[in-house]
Amino acid sequence: MNWGAVWAIARKDVGLALRTRAVVLPLIIVPLVLMVGVPVLVGLISGMAVQLDVASTDMEEIARALPPGFGEQYAGLSEVQAGYIYFIVYLFAPMYLVLPLMASAVVAADSFAGEKERKTLEALVYSPTTDRELLFAKILGAWIPGVLVGLGGFVAYTLVANAMTYYVASRIVLPNPLWLLLAFWVGPAAAALGLGITVIASSRVNTFQEAYQIGSLVVLPVVLLVIGQAAGVFILSNWLVVLVGLLLWGFVALVFVIAAASFRRTTLMARL
């Protein structure tokens, strides 16, 4: 493996993506809205509800929908307080995956389709890298920002969520094993999946916007996870998160095999 070239290409992709407004804006706005805005907004509403004492304090009514042990762990809290903690720790957890998925997809779209759009791909194709090295460099350049945005979002969410749960229920709830698994096991897999899908999309389109739009469709399963949990179909547990991570990594392997097949310079150049 030509590590010097791989690292140079990956570093250049990250550096240039971070100088591009169309890439940077979603990388800032989406984490701010999801990881800061939503917990603060729901927390403020919950806090006001607690202060106005508008809800009953009977935990048994909602206990059937909560994870095992949740009622005991947060015994004595009002329905609103427990509900807010449930929202912060469990209900909102799948939404966290939007961050690494989106971040890697947008950087990958800039790196692959954007390079075609800017007509800079040809110079790179003539570089002394193999197809595998070139693909690996491009993947690395998109995966690293995806993982970093995910981890940054996790840290921000932990701080904001703890501040708000302390405000609403005088409790510190994060990080817990479930969120640590999300951040360090499922998040990197989601980042890899987002960019893998975008690589495949990029080989079939010619503009950054087209690739990004197709790559963004990968967040739809995340929405299904949120709805499924809200509807009581399942409740996230540590084991379920481990399983989701395994499934995602499996998908990643499959997607990368397809991506490698679509990312051959002979194919790319024949289309230029």
Binding site: A5, I9, A123, Y126
Partner: protein, 321 residues
């Protein structure tokens, strides 16, 4: 680097099709180290496709190629480590500065860390981009972009340099500098594969040329050699008294081996009451006979000069075949 007698590029019936369109048709060529080889043809003749085939970035439909003895389809990355390709469009990222662009490609091409800064500064100086080294490429003129792309092509001091229309968009001063650079590269033993439709450029720079049309090589050789092979392009210029023009044209049209006698197209050639006639199809060996014929007819003959065929003559003759 290869020695002067080493073959660095060979192709045998190299062919590439895109659907029903044959981009390169049974190309067979051998190029020696240190040679400046011209690849001439209209747009769409197959020049760029050939460069891509030789660098292993597209695969041939049929035939084979060897660069430094390596097969581009299986050892493309090893070949590309020793070649530099100036693409038809500069392929530069507008968001990067000139220096960052060169530094990036120096890393990608594995230029040793200790040499990078010296090499970058040297190329920025050669291409007169030193004072804009920190400027973003997006603000560069077409000529500056082309010069930067040339600098990028040479960043790793390649053994073979593929130049696809290198002077496109350059002003006359920059064109002269690029020509000088190509000559220097050749003197340093580098092989230059020059794709161009600029015949004067090819004639000035190339040791040999291949003339392409619709993916097929019509002829390969030195300009003079091609002219001889075709027996086309030889001509003799005759300067006579302008009053004798009609008689002279009649006389030379009747003269054996003169395929065409016509006044020189360039009106500036007419001066001091004389006129220049161009006789096609005749060469140096025919001059004594032409002189005798003119004198016998009482023409005022001021000057007679055989002229070698130009690449332009050869090119258009081949296109007509």
């Amino acid at each position: 680097m290869e020695t002067a007698s080493t073959t660095v590029i060979t192709t045998e019936n190299l062919t590439r099709t895109f659907g029903v369109n044959v981009a390169v048709n049974a190309l067979t060529v051998t190029i020696q180290a240190g040679e400046v080889f011209g690849f001439l043809g209209h747009n769409g003749a197959g020049k760029t496709t050939t460069v891509r085939l030789l660098n292993g970035v597209i695969a041939p439909t049929a035939g084979a190629a060897r660069i430094f003895g390596l097969d581009p389809t299986t050892h493309g990355h090893r070949i590309r480590a020793r070649t530099g390709v100036l693409t038809e469009t500069p392929a530069l990222d507008n968001r990067m500065t000139a220096r960052d662009t060169l530094r990036y490609f120096a890393e990608v091409y594995g230029v040793p860390v200790g040499e990078r800064t010296r090499r970058i500064d040297e190329l920025l100086g050669v291409f007169e981009l030193g004072n804009r080294a920190g400027s973003k490429v997006g603000g560069f003129s077409k000529g500056m972009r082309q010069r930067l792309a040339l600098a990028r092509t040479l960043i790793h001091d390649p053994d073979i340099i593929f130049l696809d229309e290198p002077t496109s968009g350059l002003d006359p001063v920059a064109i002269r500098e690029v020509h000088h650079l190509i000559e220097q590269l050749s003197h340093r033993g580098r092989t230059v594969f020059l794709c161009t439709h600029n015949l004067a450029e090819a004639e000035r720079l190339c040791d040999r040329v291949a003339v392409l049309a619709q993916g097929r090589v019509l002829a390969i050789g030195a300009t003079q050699e091609l002219g001889r092979q075709l027996n086309r392009g030889h001509r003799v210029s005759v300067e006579i008294n302008a009053d004798d023009l009609a008689r002279a044209l009649h006389l030379f049209t009747q003269t054996p081996r003169v395929s065409l006698a016509e006044p020189a197209a360039d009106r500036a050639m007419t001066r001091n009451g004389s006129v220049l006639i161009v006789l096609h199809g005749v060469g140096r060996a025919d001059v004594p006979h032409l002189v005798r014929a003119a004198v016998e007819q009482g023409l005022d003959l001021y000057r007679i000069q055989p002229e070698a065929p130009t690449l332009e003559d050869v090119y258009f003759a081949l296109q007509e075949l």
